[in-house]
Symmetry: C2
Subunit: 114 residues, 2 copies
């Protein structure tokens, strides 16, 4: 059973006429979740994997201990960027492509009111 975070993922377009404080906060929070090279690599690994990835499979490529990997995964799930699925002993993670796509769309200023 997939457990999906309830966090509303940002993002109002950065080219929108105006952002509310809440929208600016929500957008900054997602950027903050990605503001770490290990988390960028985790997203990259998931983006190139056809299947959900076990927490135990990140430690080798990232050169990190499992608690550290789990910490980074937790932050990415909390930001609404990943889905976590428990399979027996292990948790498996996958990207929420709509979440990354939403962030990409927010950064795309084409069609912005300039």
């Amino acid at each position: 059973m997939a457990t999906t975070t309830d966090s509303a993922v940002c993002c109002a377009p950065l080219g929108a006429p105006s952002l509310t404080d809440a929208q600016a906060e929500a957008t900054a929070k997602v950027f903050k979740a990605l503001a770490d090279p290990h988390r960028v690599r985790i997203v990259n690994l998931l983006a190139t994997s056809p299947e959900p990835v076990c927490v135990c499979e990140f430690t080798g490529p990232l050169g990190l201990s499992q608690p550290t990997v789990s910490h980074h995964l937790k932050k990415l799930v909390a930001a609404g960027l990943l889905e976590r699925e428990q399979r027996g002993t292990w948790a498996y993670y996958s990207l929420r492509p709509d979440a990354l796509g939403g962030l990409a769309a927010a950064l795309d200023l084409q069609g912005a009111s300039r």
Copy 2:
């Protein structure tokens, strides 16, 4: 005269087969520059302005002192996201749309090898 930062703006696509450590670092650095609600608002203000914006024009909308605004602007310039232009006493800032567009493209997993 426009003074443009030399920072290479990221970003290798997050869906690329693999990222080097340097690419992951560079990408995380740009996300970090945007991981603050005031900076998200600065980018939004610039995205919706048809002209470069004076440092003195940010203080009102952001409710921040000028030194604080200058600090945030400096971080965004260092990340390669803004251009700074000195006009007499005041500095004027504008977005580098290619920079935001590059980040948006990196987040767009369509065409990724999954």
